[in-house]
């Protein structure tokens, strides 16, 4: 591998699809495949470690879709250029900002791969960061991503118990501890309306994590969550909504 060669990572859950892309890339001068990954989580770990210039990312993968991977990647300081691959254009990919992202339809033609890679190589970091914004809203995430130094920590949504707005960030209290994420509470509330409920101006709680709703002597309500020792205050205006979501009659 010469120093001038650009590194590329292939991500696809299907083995034949990976091996086909590997053999195509092997025939392209100037590019070398770092290898391939079978899942989104594995891909994120390898991208942080090995810093490829380009990722060929399958969209339809189990556990974490390519679109979600791309959204998490844009939190990195210098994200790789992402070229989505998909067998069937069901995602209306043209809707993506065409400056920030390319896509290839499988089976991928060698010439199309070549030109997509050439295009990706010319993109600036600033444009690449745009990617995340253009992908937003396409599909809901199954993980939240926290950036710890320049590494991404993925928190499965099912493990999240409490989202609490701090000064600039949102604190995520989850089964594995506590992390800061860059989303806003309002965005999170909209994206995951069925999983979380607002109990307070600065707090969203996971409906599944609520263990009890208690009324104190003054008539104020408090929520108790699994794995969180403090009782959380429920603001008066949220009580009715919360009860409705929990299926409690007034």
């Amino acid at each position: 591998m010469s120093a001038a060669e650009r590194k590329l990572l292939i991500v696809d859950d299907e083995a034949p699809a990976r091996s086909r892309l590997e053999s195509l890339v092997a025939g392209l001068p100037g590019w070398s495949a770092l290898g391939s990954c079978a899942s989104g989580a594995e891909a994120i770990a390898r991208i942080e470690r090995e810093r490829p210039a380009v990722v060929l990312l399958d969209i339809r993968m189990p556990a974490m879709s390519g679109i979600e991977v791309a959204r998490h990647l844009c939190l990195l300081d210098s994200p790789p250029a992402v070229i989505f691959t998909t067998a069937y254009d069901e995602y209306a990919l043209e809707a993506f900002d065409s400056h920030a992202v390319g896509y290839l339809l499988k089976p991928v033609r060698r010439e199309r791969l070549e030109s997509a890679l050439a295009h990706a190589a010319r993109l600036s970091d600033a444009l690449l960061s745009e990617l995340g914004r253009s992908v937003k809203g396409f599909e809901r995430r199954r993980h939240l991503a926290a950036r710890v130094r320049d590494e991404l920590r993925l928190i499965p949504l099912g493990e999240v118990r409490l989202l609490k707005a701090e000064q600039k960030y949102v604190s995520v209290f989850h089964a594995g501890g506590e992390d800061l994420i860059e989303d806003t509470l309002r965005q999170l509330e909209q994206e995951f309306a069925d999983l979380f409920v607002r109990i307070h101006r600065s707090m969203l709680v996971a409906i599944g994590a609520i263990e009890a709703l208690e009324k104190d002597a003054e008539g104020g309500y408090h929520a108790r969550l699994r794995g969180i020792p403090d009782r959380l205050p429920v603001s008066r205006r949220q009580v009715t909504d919360l009860k409705a979501r929990l299926g409690i009659k007034r």
């Binding site: 699809a17 086909r20 053999s23 556990a63 069937y88 499988k106 089976p107």
Partner: protein
């Protein structure tokens, strides 16, 4: 044949049948058919009753009804016989000509009958009750001709409209079946092509088999929508589909077949089980990182066959995918309903960890 229209779609596949009325686009009912003759008798009697009721009371209602019944039945049956005899010639004519010809047959018949009645009255009238025979020919004949013209024209119009309506209903049902034709997901087609492209280099023999499998599958998909297959053929198709998916998904896909007790000669609409397997893989196995097992099991209880396809479920995340699933399942339910005249059913059982589609349909060889 109107009340039997619902079953004709199935009969077509199971037994050869005389061409139905609508098939040749001829709007006149078949007057050679005994059921039609019965209808003519009833209609003639209704008309006789109507005319008898209209007559002034002093004539004697029962006498009048008897007289009119004889005339109407005679007229109805002879006209039916004439139209039946002329059917093959009529069939070659255009709709206005058929209308004219039928009117001519009926009116000529009425004229002959009127003349006959008057003659019989003149010849043997003295011995019978005179008042039932008209004395003057032309007033009697002209009145009858006018009534005959109006009634026959109305009936022809009714036949024409109901024929148009039936054709419309049938073409709608046909296009519904066509629209319901099972379609293989484009997603699957392109993924399979990608797999083949990959295997062409690494394992040409497997690539060859995959192309053969894909060809078999698409041959059925592209064939007639209402086609019936034997259970053996349908299960073979599902196995072909499974082979294609296994080349792509590797160990992630396991399929357990528990179908030894099924009567393999039973017939069912093509692509009934395969799409259920496809759904199970698409919604149940592909979203699982480590894969899972689809179970296809079946048995027969007397004349009823039951087949179920079951897959593990993932935590619900994508609403869109479940909607897609429901459409495919509703499609199969509707095709089963059409093929087995309402005796085919499809049920869904959903638990936290599994999704099962259960088909039930009668044994039909």
């Amino acid at each position: 044949m109107l009340p039997h229209g619902a079953t004709s779609a199935i009969d077509r596949d199971t037994a050869p049948q005389a061409p139905t009325e609508s098939a040749d686009g001829f709007f006149l009912p078949n007057f050679c058919d005994p059921r039609m003759v019965l209808a003519v008798v009833l209609l003639a009697e209704l008309l006789a009753l109507t005319f008898a009721l209209v007559r002034p009371a002093e004539v004697g209602f029962l006498n009048e009804l008897a007289r009119l019944s004889v005339l109407m039945q005679w007229l109805g049956l002879t006209s039916s016989a004439l139209i039946c005899l002329a059917r093959d010639s009529l069939r070659r004519l255009t709709t206005p000509l058929v209308t004219g010809a039928v009117l001519a047959i009926v009116l000529a018949n009425i004229l002959v009958l009127s003349v006959g009645v008057v003659w019989i009255g003149r010849w043997r009238g003295e011995g019978l009750m005179l008042e039932i025979f008209p004395s003057a020919l032309w007033p009697f004949a002209l009145k009858n001709l006018l009534i005959g013209l109006i009634v026959t024209a109305l009936l022809l119009r009714y036949c024409f409209v109901s024929h148009q309506w039936r054709r419309h209903v049938e073409s709608e049902a046909r296009s519904r079946i066509d629209a319901l034709q099972a379609r293989i997901r484009p997603h699957f087609l392109f993924n399979s092509l990608n797999t083949i492209a990959s295997l062409t280099r690494s394992s040409p023999e497997q690539a060859e088999e995959a192309v053969e499998d894909l060809a078999d599958l698409f041959r059925v998909t592209l064939s007639d929508a209402g086609k019936l297959l034997t259970l053996k053929e349908e299960l073979e198709l599902s196995r072909i589909y499974q082979r294609l998916e296994m080349r792509r998904l590797g160990d992630r896909l396991k399929v357990v077949w528990d179908v030894a007790l099924l009567p393999m000669r039973a017939r069912l609409p093509a692509l009934t089980i395969q799409p259920l397997l496809e759904n199970a893989i698409y919604h149940g196995i592909e979203p699982l990182e480590s894969g899972g097992t689809v179970t296809i099991s079946g048995g027969a209880d007397g004349d009823e066959i039951e087949i179920s396809v079951s897959n593990p479920t993932v935590a619900p995340t994508g609403e869109a995918s479940r909607r897609g699933n429901r459409i495919a399942v509703l499609n199969i339910r509707e095709r089963l309903g059409l093929a087995f005249a309402g005796r085919g059913s499809l049920e869904i059982e959903q638990t936290d960890s599994s999704y099962t589609v259960r088909l039930r349909f009668p044994l039909q060889l």
